[in-house]
Amino acid sequence: MRQSPKKSHPHESAHLHVSGEAVYVDDIAEVNGTLYAALGLSERPHALIKSMDLSAVEAAEDVVAVLTAKDISGENECGPIVQDDPILADGLVQFVGQPMFVVVAKNYMAARRASVLAKVEYEDLPAIMTPQEAKLQGSFVVPPMQLVRGEPEKKLKDSPHRSKGTFYVGGQEQFYLEGQISYAIPKEDNGMLVYCSTQHPTEMQHLVAHSTKRDFNQVLIETRRMGGGFGGKESQSGLFACVAAICADYLKCSVKIRLDRDDDFMATGKRHCFYYEYDVGFDEDGRILAAKVEMVLRSGFSTDLSPPVATRAVCHFDNAYYLSDVEIHAMCGKTNTQSNTAFRGFGGPQGAIVIENIIDNIARDLGKDALEIRKANFYGNAERNVTPYGQTVEDNVIHELVAELEETSDYVARRAEIKAYNETSPILKKGLALTPVKFGISFNVVHFNQAGALVHIYTDGSILVNHGGTEMGQGLNTKVAQVVALVLGVDLSRVRATATDTSKVVNTSATAASSGTDLNGKAAENAAAQIKQRFAEYIAHKWGGDIQDVLFENDTVSLDKQSIPFTELVVEAYENRIQLWSDGFYKTPKLNWDKDKLQGRPFFYFAYGAAVSEVIVDTLTGEMKLLRADLLHDAGNPINTAIDIGQVEGAFIQGMGWLTTEDLWWNPKGKLMTHAPSTYKIPAVNDCPDDLRVKLFHNPNHEDTILRSKAVGEPPLLLGFSVFFAIRDAIASVADYKINPPLDAPATPENIMNAISAITDIVDDTDTNSGAKS
């Protein structure tokens, strides 16, 4: 009866994107007299500011004003959880790139040129750069967290096999193509309008209000679309929203701040890098009997979102595997670097990759295929199905999903072919890996799991939907509009989604945790359903009949043999004083979470997936190429198949970039040196495999989600693991698959060469030793 929800409508803004008409913040027609701000950034990782001579900045051409911390009328603070995140450094700098002052000028280039003219005297303090150093010195932004189940210590001792080691996974810059930007316009009666490229308009509203001494109702944040977010515009758009508003408030005129790409790299946080120490026990079949892991995150200089990132890492250490006796520690290391923040996956990928590394090691230790070890450890359906944090896995499809992918990717045959290839190819080595994903969906903070929407029907029959989520390219507005069209039985072209606006739906959560469609789609469904109910009551009363029998489809409303076009019904309803608009609300059911004990049901459901990657590695140069990838991902019953496949492909490639080419490197003076696309390499079209096969796994959500779909933003990022472990497999072939290559991520040519050298040295040593003995 229903319109198929599986339609692959183009993105609601596609016609605007291709014509150049889509308006991003920097494209908004400017108010007369708009001024431009640029930031003066710290050159030291940790230092007291002894003096700051800004006279040359002030005297520079076209400069209007220079502001420092003392010019902020309200709070000099933009931390999302803990108040340790100054907007402008006040006497102390804690990383190279920390904003110290703002210069406002008549044009963008004048502001940028002036921003480097300050003469700052620093008194250097000891700097902590790495998570390992932070752990050694007990430097943490919040106290360490731990989760223990069973008797890991005892079970480890009793295990017939042990695997102990360390592992390191680097961070990742979001590299949204549209950099951070905010445009503030003072309004009457102390109002402040800020156009902001942000995933979290409500938080921007709060921060702007606090920093400019306003009530929330005096601040309006509008976000039509972002040129990418990926988590980098969840909390960290805050500093720029505040700077624009503070300057606009101070100068009583409109001020825009758009970060230059290098400044964006230097000033904003990234995905957390992780350092791990682990110890696991396992049996002959590779089944894990006990596991201990300690994860240390590079949080950077402030707390930002590190605690929930660490929590999600703890809750994803299990990935798709049952761990009966387990001990997980997570420490948020305070370092003198950018304050790391949300990035697609939010600690989940970092939590899960270490168990995949462990399993990869176990397989080589036992001389078995890693896939066999993975299967031996998968969560069960009726037993072995409770996560370390106490949630029962009720929707497990990993067995059938992996079985399907194993077959469609021809895994077994290709494994044999690759072995044969490597035996005859001394320099070029191929590798293959299949890695699974289980990813928990919902915010770990229960009360964030709520959303609102507004649906308006105008008297010409056109419909407008507005909700609290933000559009960053993921197709949220398209899906929400599809939901409204489906509920009211009208063509999608009748429904228009509009900019997120804090004066419409209020007190919203960030568009994050993959939850955008789950939350806002349900809220919009609820709003549309209320109007539909009013129409149905009206029709049932008018024509006589049962409300339940009133049908809404094909732009027509019918009951038994009578029908009326939707547009005519709207006019009639209006004339009969029926309310043609509604709000809608949704809160995710079944959730509970004890954040101190790390126990409960933090996730409404799980999304699953798996990927097979085949790579070729040049063992003389470390160069790597992904030859083929097969992805199978569970998006539930998709609302828009094309959009979901786009999310899967994009996330996979982004995950691959994180683990292969994207290298954040700080010099000994504490300066991030890979701070532009010239040195920081995100995947380009040529890095993607010629042979990429992507399929959605048919699996309507067990839980009552919007049209039984599943969240699809973050989970497929973990599919990129398969590339990393295929590289590791190729390297291992150099030592006949007998030694675990000490490969850290990202697997850059340099790291690949280091791993090859390390295992070659071990082989050489062994040969020499055995030679001496004989």
Binding site: H17, G20, A22, L177, G473, A642, Q654, P677, S678
Partner: protein, 161 residues
Amino acid sequence: MKKTAVSFTLNNEQVDVLVEPRELLIHTLREKLSLTGSHIGCETSHCGACTVDMDGISVKSCTILAVQANGSELMTVEGLASDDGLHAVQEGFMQEHGLQCGFCTPGMLMRSYRFLQENPNPTEEEIRVGLSGNLCRCTGYQNIVKSVQYAAEKLQAKEEG
């Protein structure tokens, strides 16, 4: 700073504009001529969001001085569509979902437009090489390649028809 008068053809219209000698073409296009379709992504010619067509070649307008464009023939994304409707590359990117956030799209379109004149019947590999100067952070490029293939077929059919 003293300004210089620059004249060029922009999307088939004659334009005269006063620019600083050091002014970048992308700033002239966006700020002085209000053509905001071309985007600023990195300002170092790596990302390609600012790609425009100048005298029959693709250029990154963030590293071309406005004065260099004097006397040239320029085309931006705003000039792609005609009275007949969208250009085949625009249609391709819409139909094949070659975009997500859309920020890289104008640059991708302008590069694709020129690339398909350089090579009207490209292989997939040639498309990947031809577009390698333009970055996209959302799509994984699969649908971008398909979009260009769609446009190539459409343009070929038009040629033959």
